[in-house]
């Protein structure tokens, strides 16, 4: 596929790996923010090809993993209501809540529909005027415009039977939370290219200055990632802490202004709970009062729940990059993709699932 295959070139990969091997002189920890970056690194076997001095730390950029357990419980509660059709992205339906996942609620009679796009959920609402359609709107900034768009379209078409259950999270506050944690030792970041496509590269400039860490924006193909890692290591080796956009074909400094205005028509920034991490101030999007008729929590009768986590699950430490999945005592025995104890094991983007799936042994 054009603009995809070219960035999987084996020779270029080898050259970049050579370069990285030859410039690195000491140990560095680099965090890749996005679950898609983690997936690509593991799937292409890149982690094992990097020099031993470089440790890739897997960040919390998996929206499925960080959706609070209480939010899943709300989704299940809604889904079990007689008249509701619950629409969701595929990766969300297997994440366990306190009692069950959306997938399991199907066995109890819930009408769950997997969709590729929130606009498909809107279509289901139009096709089923007598049913209440709820779309489980999770994601980072990349997905926010599409989710917001579905609400704008619903409002403009006068569609009354559609609402979204929102669990949107933002990257820069998460990075700051990680960097402010005293236990963290992250030397540099690979920022998520598609989040930056929407929001622009400029929001990362203050982070590089405040925390004096290099931030390199990358795409997701092997060449993109390795180029990003090389650039990050170069900066680290020379003591720099700058923002470097290595995904210029898609990321512009100001991002996509139309997408941002769509987001801010529907959403406003607010505090958000992150599963495994806790409350991070101003780290999420909430539906504005003006559109409360499209906010499932306000529109439908949903009880606020806190949700019960497995106390032995160390998702939080893993999401903050303080521990690796195979260092968890539950990994591979009590916790596996068929019996996940926490979110990073359920979503295929989660660090634990990626490690399990691609063959890491428990320690």
């Amino acid at each position: 596929m054009k603009y995809l295959e070219e960035f999987r070139n084996e020779k270029q990969v080898k050259k970049l790996l050579n370069d990285i091997h030859s410039i690195v002189t000491r140990e560095w920890s680099i965090m890749e923010i996005c679950g898609g970056q983690t997936h690509s690194l593991v799937k292409n076997g890149i982690l094992n090809l990097l020099p031993g001095e470089i440790t890739m730390v897997h960040g919390p950029g998996c929206p499925v993993c960080v959706t609070p357990i209480g939010m899943i419980d709300r989704a299940v509660e809604l889904a079990l209501k007689k008249n509701v059709i619950m629409c969701s992205f595929g990766d969300m339906v297997r994440v366990p809540g306190s009692e069950m996942s959306l997938m399991k609620s199907k066995a109890l009679g819930a009408d769950i529909r997997i969709v590729y796009s929130p606009l498909d959920a809107l279509k289901i609402a139009r096709d089923n005027p007598d049913r209440e359609v709820v779309f489980f709107a999770v994601g980072f900034e990349t997905t926010a415009p599409a989710n917001a768009l579905s609400v704008i379209q619903a409002a403009k078409s006068g569609l009354r039977n559609y609402s979204i259950l929102t669990s949107h999270v933002l990257v820069p506050p998460a990075m700051e939370a990680i960097l402010s944690d005293e236990e963290t030792r992250i030397d540099g970041f690979l920022a998520a290219g598609h989040v930056c496509a929407i929001m622009g590269s400029e929001e990362y400039e203050p982070i590089t200055k405040k925390y004096r860490v290099p931030v390199v924006i990358t795409g997701f193909e092997p060449v993109d990632l390795l180029h990003g890692i090389k650039s990050c290591v170069e900066q680290l080796e020379s003591g720099k802490s700058e923002l470097d956009n290595q995904y210029k074909r898609v990321v512009r400094r100001a991002g996509n202004q139309e997408a941002q205005s769509v987001i801010f028509e529907i959403f406003e920034v607010g505090d958000r709970e992150w599963r495994g991490i806790g409350m991070i101030p101003s780290s999420g999007y909430h539906v504005k009062e003006k559109y409360s008729d499209y906010d499932a929590i306000r529109k439908l009768d949903v009880v606020a729940v806190d949700g019960k986590e497995n106390p032995d699950c160390m998702a939080g430490l893993i999401l903050k990059g303080l521990k690796k999945p195979h260092e968890c005592p539950l990994f591979g025995n009590k916790c596996s993709p068929s019996n996940p104890q926490g979110a990073p094991m359920v979503s295929s983007e989660g660090a634990c699932a990626a490690y399990y799936h691609f063959g890491y042994e428990p320690e």
Partner: protein, 350 residues
């Protein structure tokens, strides 16, 4: 429903009912109407025309016996329908046993309200596929269930075939240096189904690869006998699932090469779009063969000489190291484990 390719080949007679009702399953006149005009008019063979409770078959040799149920939704998909799938699925199960498929049974559980022209298209699909595969539908059953208790129609087919005398398939016989061959491009069937699933639809030229494989498997066994260690068709769960089973039960490691997997361009693009790994997507018209290294190239040529095997390739080999695990070398030179999935692979956003 899009085209009625099977009805075009087997025109539907005049019927005085448009939908199947509970009455059609109750065993009385309505049932006979449905069977006479529907089933028996399509399947003309001695055994079935006897209208006994069972069929008398004269078979010499070691019998292979298999059964499979088909509960797919939607029942019509690009490239075929559930009828065709139900014949080819059972024919291929027998082929994987190293048998020459001969006779199948056809059991229908029809949902009340199913349109008769849809049912006819499905049955015509069974007929055309059975003829193409050289098997006869010799016995069957029809039931009707209340509306809401089925997905238009569920089908079970059970098949018998005669096992080739040279067959010696066994997980225990698989050993290091054996070679793994795939007979054709992967992931087509699963992506054809995806393309028409509500919420995920997209336009493409992808069609299901459902087709009978027994002619190819027969040639392989004829020519190479015991050097063919195992045949498996990677249906649900895809190539990755079958190879994991092989690695586990044979207690060997398997090393694959991503470069070598044949995947159709559009199938690949559809997988990229939905975030699916083709290794785990269902197939209906390909098989995996584990063969002795000495005859691997010739076996490959034999498969490639058949029209359903033109794109066959060697995708990997069996090894002693890492027993129970399947590895794949990625196109960029890295290496990773290909694990078993916990459940169905779902489209992802991340």
């Amino acid at each position: 429903m899009s085209d009625r390719k099977f009805t075009l080949q087997c025109p539907m007679p005049e019927l005085d009912f448009e939908v199947v009702t509970l009455g059609h399953g109750s065993g009385g006149k309505l049932t006979n109407d449905l069977l006479d005009k529907g089933v028996f008019s399509l399947f003309q063979n001695d055994a079935l025309q006897q209208r006994h409770d069972g069929a008398f078959l004269d078979i010499q040799g070691k019998i292979a016996f298999t059964t499979d149920s088909f509960v797919i939704n939607p029942i019509f998909f690009p490239g075929g329908n559930i009828g065709e799938l139900s014949v080819n699925g059972t024919v291929n199960d027998l082929a994987m046993c190293g048998a020459d498929p001969k006779y199948i049974s056809l059991s229908l559980i029809i949902e009340e309200g199913m349109r008769i022209d849809d049912l006819w298209e499905v049955l015509a699909g069974v007929k055309v596929s059975a003829e193409a595969a050289g098997v006869q539908v010799v016995t069957g059953d029809t039931k009707v269930v209340e509306k809401g208790k089925g997905d238009q129609v569920f089908i079970n087919t059970t098949g018998v075939g005669i096992t080739h005398p040279a067959v010696d398939f066994s997980m225990d016989r698989i050993s290091p240096e054996d070679v793994v061959i795939v007979s054709g491009p992967i992931a087509a069937h699963g992506m054809a189904i995806m393309s028409v699933r509500e919420g995920l639809t997209f336009e493409s030229d992808i069609i299901s690869d459902t087709r009978p494989l027994h002619e190819i498997t027969s040639s392989l066994i004829d020519k190479y006998g015991k050097d063919i260690k195992l045949l498996r068709d990677p249906t649900r769960g895809g190539v990755a699932t079958v190879l994991n089973e092989v690695a586990k039960f044979s207690r060997v490691g398997i090393e694959l090469n991503e470069y070598r997997f044949p995947v159709d361009t559009q199938v690949k693009a559809a997988c990229e779009m939905l975030g699916l790994d083709p290794l785990y997507v269902a197939n209906e018209g390909i098989f995996l063969a584990v063969v002795k290294k000495d005859i691997a190239q010739q076996a490959l040529s034999t498969i490639q000489s058949h029209r359903y095997g033109r794109q066959a390739t060697i995708i990997g080999e069996v090894q002693e190291e890492n027993p129970g695990k399947v590895f794949i070398k990625s196109k960029i030179g890295g290496r990773r484990v290909v694990g078993m999935l916990a459940g169905e692979q779902l489209p992802r956003i991340c």
